[in-house]
Amino acid sequence: MIRVENLVKTFGGLRAVDGASLEIAQGAITGLIGPNGAGKTTLFNVVAGAYAPDEGRVLLDGEDITGLAPHRLFDKGLLRTFQIAHEFSTLTVRENLMTVPPAQDGETLWNAWFQPSAVRARERAVREKADEVIDFLQLGHVADELAGNLSGGQKKLLELGRTMMTEARIVFLDEVGAGVNRTLLKAIGEAILRLNRERGYTFCMIEHDMDFIGRLCDPVIVMAEGKVLTQGSVEEVKADERVIEAYLGRGLKNRPARTRAPEAGA
Amino acid sequence: MEILNALALFTNFVGLPALAYGSQLALGALGVTLIYAVLRFTFFAHGDLMAFGTMVVVLATWGLQAMGVGLGPLPTALLALPAGIAAAAGFTLLSDRWVFAFYRRQKAKPVVFMIASVGVMFLLNGIVRIVIGPDDQRFADGERFLFTVGDFRDWSGLDEGVAFRSTQALTIVAAVIAMAALFWFLQRTRMGKAMRAYSDEEDLALLSGVDPAKVVRTAWILAAALATLAGVLYGLDKSFKPFTYFQLLLPIFASAILGGIGNPVGAVVGAYIVAFSEVMVTYAYRKFAGYLLPEGAMPEGLLQLLSTDYKFAVSFVILVVVLLARPTGIFRGKVI
């Protein structure tokens, strides 16, 4: 569904993405992993229209979408989240979510001024939808809090929540799991699976938690130094010596010196 | 010979005046840029702070002159400079204690600081005028010229002369030194780094052990010193009138932004661009061309690109054009 051909993106002298080519199949949940600084986020940014590439193309269902503005891509059903949360900080959590649905009646001034009833009806529907998402993400107690006041993890949840507010075809998730409590993350994983199976969303997700990747993704693409290093199922990738060397590592060398048991109580 | 004449003409009417005016703007822009770099807001009272510091220097200079103290060929005002700096620094520190510190605690938005600085500007505006009055004041003494047009002509044997005032020289030298010093201070010294860190991420700076009070104090003192220096050099070259100092504010802002606000080198380069564009685009090149073109080919028209009516507009056109090409200024300034 998405084809990335020979993408190059440079910052000054640095080639952050250096001729990466990859394909994201319709209906799959594709994982994208790689060491810090491999160029994963940069690749996302190029695909989602935030940066123009220096070379290469991006195709969506065969159509060249290279360099289209992000809002145009959104209209084509391409959604993304941000690694460093980009909340609307002076809007409440609910408003953050309600902003997302496209082409709302009340978003043109004419309707806002002269069609109040149509706007109100649509607002009700959007609000209901937002409340559903809020419940699912366990954000109920902060629904009316300003998003800027959320905890780090809550902001990440909000990032994810926005993608659930609209019908998407393909969703790019940039480390939605980082900083999210594992129990909740498990539920999120299940939701992703459900969206994928029931609604046919295609996902591409960057993640460093291999358990999470393992539960959801097939295939997994590994990037390193701006290029695609390898690609395959989770097991294949985990077994790949190069991946272990550059990314996974071999576990802890040290063992903690367990000293005392903590005092009871507190 | 003709080429030399053309050069002399150009230097006298375009090169030197623009360089001197640019340096005057640069000194002001350095102060504005410093406050922006450290305290993260546009300080509107800078023009009036310049006037305030200069006012104290003027009063002190008069005192010194009355006592017969002087610096020979150099203006006495240089001797009085520390007094002005001390007064300006005192004022900024007080205004910080009473005004800006509160908004820092409130973590107010930059625009609130900016409007508060407009309030401080009104205060300073009134104080200066009540103390010394709104009139023109002269306090320059010493040698006005390094060499005059006549001196130059005699020395070179050219038809065209060049005049170079001592205050122009002083200003140019001061601007370059101040820029280099400030750049070095911010980039290399411990305090400078602390200031940049504080401006980047205030809370994190605290976690690194930076003393915010000290950072803020240093920034204000430096800004006050720069403002006073700028004001005094300008006043020596032209004259001291509070309203003119207020009017300097816009070109100073333009310079700082154009170069990339927060960057001392940018402030100076921006200032020269503003100054040179004002003078060069509105200069009438007729005589200049007359020297370069063959005998008798002196053009009829004035060869003026734009009338001086639009001089102020010209510098802003250039500003906008540059910003379109480099949206955060020539040296990629801060964005808040």
Binding site: H86, F88, S89, L91, L109 | L123, G133, F253
Partner: protein
């Protein structure tokens, strides 16, 4: 003080404002109070315009002065009688220049569309721009010279359309909107302070043009005696019926005429402000407003959520500027004259900004209140400042040199008082008197 934070805060502050104006009415005179009120209304319109751009979309428009001036120009163009001599002297040629300009722009656009991107296109563009400039100047200069030569002391310009004064307000809004479109297209790519300084620069350019292009609105020679949307005091005083009525009320006819005229203005201004405020509030509280606030908060995310940030920004910038233009037009109607030399950033840009921030940015009612309060202080600072200075020097015996020196500077107490009030208000309401509402 907690009741000051509740929902009653807004109405209460407006009540205080009304009391302040009433106090002036009683202590000074109702004519003064109404004169201040009228400009309060005008200032409120301008502050509202600034707030639309800043509070909704985070656009720091520091070119308010330019838009206000364009609004003023519109009143001249709409309301002044045309100058037939000037039209016959150079009007046609000027129209021809306009046509030539449009044709050149079209030709350039056409050529650029036809040619592929590259050096040839760049070269052709430059050549055509130079050619067009020369052509336009060739047509333009003699035309304007001819126009400006027509009785320069009195006219020397094309005049206007001779329409009722208030149509100038509408035209002012349109003119400002058009300029905003152009300016926005060019500079909305810039961020925060860089955008601010660009708008500041452009407003200076607008003023420079208005000052120096005499054929348009007489430049620094000013256009005075603009027709009014309200009756003239002298006419009222000349009307026997009015004089009788005034005397029946126990009022001096001169005083009464002043009051009536000012009330007429106040009614007109209040109507305009009311409509604008209604539209602004309605927009802000709709999904449109939510979208704008989202864009203001984080444009990258808004763009990724499918919002056409560039277009929306431009839209808001145009709307805000148009409102400022309307305010500028109203002010010129009220002053009865258009004086380009009077447009100074301190008064027409920064003072408006002070109004927005003191009132509470992002809150329309707050900006309007800010417009009222700051204009009130701006005017009343003068007598209060003098009074303060008198009080401060009352201790001194006659002829005390120090007191005399202070007295000389009494006029400048105005600035000190203004600054002090500004700082005090901002101290006790750091987010503005009526902060932006959090919609829970």
């Amino acid at each position: 003080m907690s009741w000051l934070q509740g929902p009653a805060r807004g109405p209460l502050l407006y009540l205080v404002m009304a009391l302040l104006l009433a106090l002036v009415g009683v202590a000074q005179s109702w004519n003064v109070a109404l004169a201040i009120l009228n400009m309060c209304l005008v200032s409120a319109v301008m502050a509202l315009g600034a707030n639309i751009a800043w509070g909704y979309a985070g656009l720091m428009n520091v070119g308010l002065m330019g838009f206000a001036a364009l609004g003023g120009l519109a009143v001249v163009l709409a309301a002044q009688p045309p100058v037939p001599e000037a039209w016959s002297a150079g009007g046609l040629r000027l129209l021809g220049t306009g046509a030539a300009l449009v044709a050149s722009v079209a030709a350039i656009a056409l050529v650029r569309a036809r040619l592929a991107k590259g050096r040839l296109r760049a070269l052709a563009t430059v050549a055509m721009v130079v050619g067009a400039y020369a052509l336009v100047r060739f047509l333009f200069d003699p035309a304007t010279d001819a126009i400006e030569a027509v009785d320069p002391a009195v006219t020397g310009y094309l005049g206007g359309l001779g329409l009722p004064s208030a149509t100038g307000w509408l035209l002012g809004g349109l003119l400002a909107a058009g300029a905003a479109w152009l300016i926005g297209k060019v500079s909305l790519g810039l961020r925060s302070d860089y955008f601010a300084i660009a708008t500041l620069g452009i407003s200076e350019i607008v003023i420079a043009v208005l000052k120096n292009e005499d054929w348009l609105a007489r430049g620094v020679k000013n256009v005075t005696g603009l027709p009014r949307p309200a009756p003239y005091e002298v006419d009222l005083q000349a009307s026997a019926a009015f004089v009788e009525r005034a005397q029946a009320w126990g009022l001096d006819p001169a005083e009464a005429s002043g009051i009536v005229v000012k009330l007429c203005y106040a009614a007109l201004f209040a109507a305009v402000l009311g409509v604008l405020l209604w539209l602004a509030e309605r927009a802000l509280n709709s999904p449109w407003g939510r979208m704008m606030r989202a864009i203001r908060d984080n444009e990258v995310a808004a763009e990724a959520m499918g919002k056409d940030v560039v277009k929306r920004r431009l839209q808001t910038f145009i709307l805000g500027s148009a409102v400022v233009g309307i305010g500028g037009a109203m002010m010129v109607s009220f002053d009865g004259q258009f004086t380009p030399g009077a447009y100074q950033p301190l008064r027409f840009t920064f003072l408006i900004w002070v109004m927005v921030i003191v009132g509470g940015s992002g809150n329309n009612w707050g900006s309007v209140l800010g417009g009222f309060l700051i204009w009130f202080v701006w005017i009343e600072a003068e007598p209060v400042g003098r009074w303060l200075m008198d009080a401060a020097t009352a201790w001194a015996p006659e002829g005390n040199a120090f007191a005399a020196h202070l007295q000389e500077g009494a006029a400048h107490m105005r600035m000190i008082f203004m600054g002090a009030i500004l700082l005090l208000v901002l101290r006790f309401a750091p987010r503005g008197l009526m902060p932006e509402k959090v919609r829970r």
